[in-house]
C-alpha cells in the first residue's frame, strides 16, 4: 500500500469516482470526480489532530463494518494511503448546524478548507483495469439467522474488526455487550451462498475464512468452536493442511446447513443462549447447539452498483452481476470490450492469492498492449456513398459514438453525411437505418447477410427432400 502512495508513476486518486468514459481501446477519455474532502492536500501533514479534536462520532459502516466509530473528519485507519483525512459533510456539525469548526481551529497548517468543491479531471488512457471488488451479503435478508435482532449474531466482516488489534475492541473477542468473552461460538458457512433464494454460487472464500476464524477464536479465547458447513471446500495449495490444523486444535465440525438461530429456549441448558438448530447430516439427527456467539460467514456479492459501472465501461455482467470475462478458461481477465480488463472479485468471488494473480495478469495484458504501441482492430466499419446520400439525416443520431457527421452544402457541393472510420465501432445500425441504401458496412454487408440467409434456407428442417433447392 505504501509503495503505491510513493510510486512516481502512480497518480493516486482516492475519494474519487469515474463519472464518464468515452472513446475506444488505445484512446479512452476518462472523467473522474474527486470528491471534496475539505482538506487541502498541499498543506495537510497527516498529523491527525483534526480527527482527535472533532467532536462528532459516527458509526463507521465502511471500514469498521458498522462495529466501530469514526469521527466526521477521519482517516479510515492509521496506515491509510493517502495519509490525508476526509471530512464527511453529511455528518459534520459545521455543515449541518453552521457552528463548530474544531478541526479548522486546531489545524496548525491551515489545511481545512470548508469551501472546497468537487473537482472533475479529464485525461486520456489507453487501457482500463476494473478491480471494483465485491459487497458482503447482508444477512438480515435471512431472517431465521437472527442477524440484527439477536445481539450476538455477528457477520464475518464484523468479526474481523473484533479480532483486529486495530479494531474497536483492540483485538479482544467479546460479545455485543463489549465485555463478555464468549465460551462457545458457532460459525455458520454458506450464509447467502449456494442458495437459490439469494446467490446460486459458491462464494469460494467462506470455508477457509471460517476455518481461520475458528483458529483465531481458539487462539484468543479458548472457547468451544462449532463450524456448521454444507460441504468443506479446501482446494488449493496449503488450504487442506490448514483444515487439518484447525481440526487438530479441537474445533468441532457439524456437517449440516443451519436451519435457524433462535433465543427461544426449549430444553435445559438453552436459557440465555443462542441456539443453533441444524441437522447433523452425518448422524441424520436434528441438533440444537447452544452457544454464546454466532458468526455468519457471509457470501460475496457483486457490488450494488456493478450494473451501472459495467454500463459506464461498456462491459456486461452475468446473471448474478459479476463482470463477464472474454473466455472463462482462455481469457479470464479480458472483456468483450477491447482495452477494458477485469481483476479480483469484480469478476467473481475469489480469495486473496487469486485476486493478486488476476491483478498481475491484467497488468501483463495491459503492458503487452502498451508495448505494441498500436493496436489492430477489426475493419468492421460503415461508410457512406456520398453520391447516393441524399442528406436526409436519418443516420445522424443513429451513432452513439458520434462517428457520423453532417456536411452542409458548400460551394456548390451538395450536403451529405459521412462516417469517421476511427470512431465507428461497426455495429451496423446506421447501415440498416439508411433509407436510400447509401451506407454500406464491411464484414456484415447487406449482400453478405442476405446471401447467408438464402443459403441457410436451402434445406428444410425435415431433411433431404429439398436438396434440389440448392441452386445449380
Amino acid at each position: 500500500m505504501v509503495s503505491v502512495g510513493n510510486h512516481p508513476n502512480i497518480n493516486l486518486m482516492a475519494y474519487s469516482e469515474v463519472t464518464q468514459v468515452s472513446g475506444y481501446v488505445g484512446n479512452f477519455t476518462v472523467t473522474v470526480r474527486q470528491k471534496a474532502s475539505y482538506v487541502d492536500k498541499e498543506k495537510c501533514t497527516g498529523c491527525g489532530v483534526c480527527q482527535d479534536k472533532c467532536p462528532k462520532k459516527v458509526i463507521d459502516q465502511a471500514y469498521e463494518a458498522g462495529l466501530g466509530h469514526r469521527k466526521a473528519i477521519y482517516k479510515p485507519f492509521p496506515q491509510a494511503v493517502p495519509k490525508f483525512p476526509v471530512l464527511d459533510r453529511e455528518n459534520c456539525t459545521f455543515f449541518q448546524k453552521g457552528t463548530c469548526k474544531a478541526c479548522e481551529k486546531f489545524c496548525e497548517s491551515n489545511a481545512i478548507d470548508f469551501k472546497q468543491q468537487d473537482e472533475f479531471v479529464t485525461f486520456p488512457v489507453g487501457n482500463i483495469v476494473l478491480a471494483t471488488g465485491f459487497d458482503p451479503f447482508d444477512p438480515r435478508r435471512i431472517a431465521q439467522y437472527g442477524y440484527g435482532r439477536l445481539a450476538n449474531v455477528f457477520t464475518s466482516m464484523e468479526f474481523e474488526r473484533l479480532s483486529s488489534a486495530g479494531g474497536p475492541t483492540g483485538g479482544k473477542i467479546v460479545l455485543r455487550d463489549g465485555v463478555t468473552a464468549p465460551q462457545s461460538v458457532g460459525i455458520i458457512h454458506c450464509v447467502g451462498s449456494r442458495d437459490k433464494h439469494y446467490n446460486n454460487y459458491c462464494s469460494v472464500i467462506c470455508c477457509m475464512q471460517s476455518l481461520k476464524l475458528a483458529h483465531l477464536i481458539k487462539e484468543k479465547t479458548g472457547a468451544t468452536v462449532y463450524n456448521f458447513y454444507t460441504d468443506m471446500r479446501t482446494a488449493f495449495k496449503d488450504y487442506d493442511e490448514f483444515y487439518q490444523r484447525v481440526l487438530s486444535e479441537g474445533t468441532l465440525f457439524v456437517r449440516g446447513r443451519v436451519a435457524e438461530v433462535t433465543d427461544a429456549a426449549r430444553l435445559p441448558g438453552e436459557e440465555g443462549k443462542l441456539i443453533i438448530q441444524a441437522e447433523d447430516t452425518l448422524i441424520g439427527k436434528q441438533r440444537r447447539v447452544p452457544v454464546d456467539m454466532v458468526v455468519l460467514s457471509t457470501a460475496l456479492e457483486p457490488r450494488h452498483d456493478a450494473k451501472e459501472v459495467g454500463q459506464r465501461f461498456g462491459i456486461s455482467g452475468s446473471a448474478a452481476g459479476w463482470f463477464i470475462e472474454r473466455h472463462p478458461k482462455l481469457d479470464p481477465v479480458a472483456t468483450m470490450t477491447e482495452g477494458v480488463f477485469i481483476a479480483g472479485c469484480a469478476q467473481g468471488p475469489k480469495d486473496i492469492p487469486a485476486s493478486v494473480a488476476q491483478g498481475a495478469a491484467a497488468a501483463a495484458r495491459v503492458v503487452g498492449k502498451i508495448n505494441q504501441k498500436e493496436i489492430a482492430v477489426e475493419p468492421i466499419r460503415a461508410s457512406i456513398d456520398k453520391d447516393r446520400c441524399s442528406a436526409c439525416r436519418i443516420c445522424n443520431n443513429q451513432c452513439p459514438f458520434k462517428a457520423i457527421s453532417y456536411i452542409p452544402e458548400k460551394n456548390g457541393q451538395r450536403a451529405y453525411s459521412e462516417v469517421n472510420p476511427a470512431l465507428c465501432q461497426g455495429c451496423g445500425t446506421c447501415v440498416a437505418a439508411c433509407p436510400s441504401g447509401a451506407i454500406a458496412g464491411t464484414v456484415f454487408s447487406s449482400q453478405q447477410i442476405m446471401a447467408q440467409l438464402n443459403g441457410l434456407m436451402l434445406l428444410n428442417v425435415n431433411g433431404a427432400s429439398v436438396e434440389e433447392k440448392v441452386p445449380a
Binding site: R194, D231, Q277, K285, R287
Partner: protein, 199 residues
C-alpha cells in the same frame, strides 16, 4: 428433470416420485445439506430426516422409504420448502410419499393413514368435514381412553357451542361423487403409468 424411458414411464424410484408430484418438485437437485431436517418441527420424532429419506429415494430403497414414518410426521409447516436452498418442494414430496405408502400398503402403523381416511370419509359423504364425527370415530378406533385425557376440553367445547352434533351436507353431493369417482379413475391410470416403468 426426471428421466423417462422410451415408453414414457419413469425409470427409477426417484423419477417415479418426481412424476407423482404436482408442480416441479426439483427433487433431483438435492445437495444433502440438511436444511430440511434442521428446520423440521417434528424432525426429532422422525425415523429418517427428510434429507436422509431423499438419499434413500435416490438409492432406490423403495421399500424402506415407504415403510418410514417420516412422511406421516410431516406437519405441513413448509419451513423446509421455503428454506431449501435448492427450492425442492419438500412438503409436496412428503404428500407423494404418503400416497405411495398407502397405495403400496407398506407403512404398517395405521394411526396417521387412518386419520386421513376417516377425515376423507366425512368429506366424501357430506362434502364437508365433521369435527365431532372425525374425532369420535378416530379416537374410538385408536385411543378409546384418550377421550378422558381431553375430557375437559370436550366438555368446554360442547358447552361453548364449538361442537356441532349434526354433519353439514352440501347440496351438490351427486355431482361431487361423480367428480371424485372420475378423479380416482384418472389417478389410477396415472399411477399405472408412473409405476409401470420400474421393476
Amino acid at each position: 428433470m426426471q428421466q423417462v424411458a422410451s415408453n414414457g414411464t419413469p425409470k427409477t424410484f426417484l423419477d417415479q416420485v418426481i412424476a407423482a408430484t404436482p408442480g416441479n418438485p426439483h427433487l433431483e437437485m438435492c445437495i444433502q445439506c440438511g436444511t430440511c431436517g434442521g428446520s423440521c418441527p417434528s424432525g426429532p420424532d422422525m425415523e429418517h430426516t427428510p434429507r436422509d429419506l431423499f438419499a434413500m429415494v435416490r438409492a432406490g430403497m423403495k421399500d424402506q422409504v415407504l415403510r418410514s414414518n417420516t412422511p406421516w410426521y410431516c406437519v405441513s409447516c413448509y419451513y423446509c420448502t421455503v428454506r431449501c436452498p435448492q427450492e425442492i418442494h419438500v412438503t409436496d414430496l412428503m404428500y407423494t410419499l404418503k400416497r405411495m405408502s398407502v397405495k403400496s400398503k407398506l407403512y404398517d402403523e395405521s394411526i396417521a393413514p387412518d386419520f386421513s381416511k376417516t377425515f376423507i370419509f366425512w368429506v366424501e359423504n357430506n362434502g364437508r368435514s365433521f369435527e365431532l364425527g372425525l374425532m369420535a370415530q378416530h379416537m374410538l378406533r385408536h385411543n378409546p381412553f384418550g377421550v378422558f385425557k381431553i375430557a375437559d376440553m370436550g366438555v368446554g367445547m360442547v358447552t361453548k357451542g364449538r361442537i356441532g352434533f349434526t354433519p353439514k351436507r352440501i347440496k351438490g353431493m351427486d355431482g361431487l361423487h361423480a367428480i371424485l369417482a372420475k378423479a380416482k379413475e384418472i389417478e389410477a391410470e396415472d399411477d399405472a403409468k408412473i409405476m409401470g416403468g420400474a421393476a
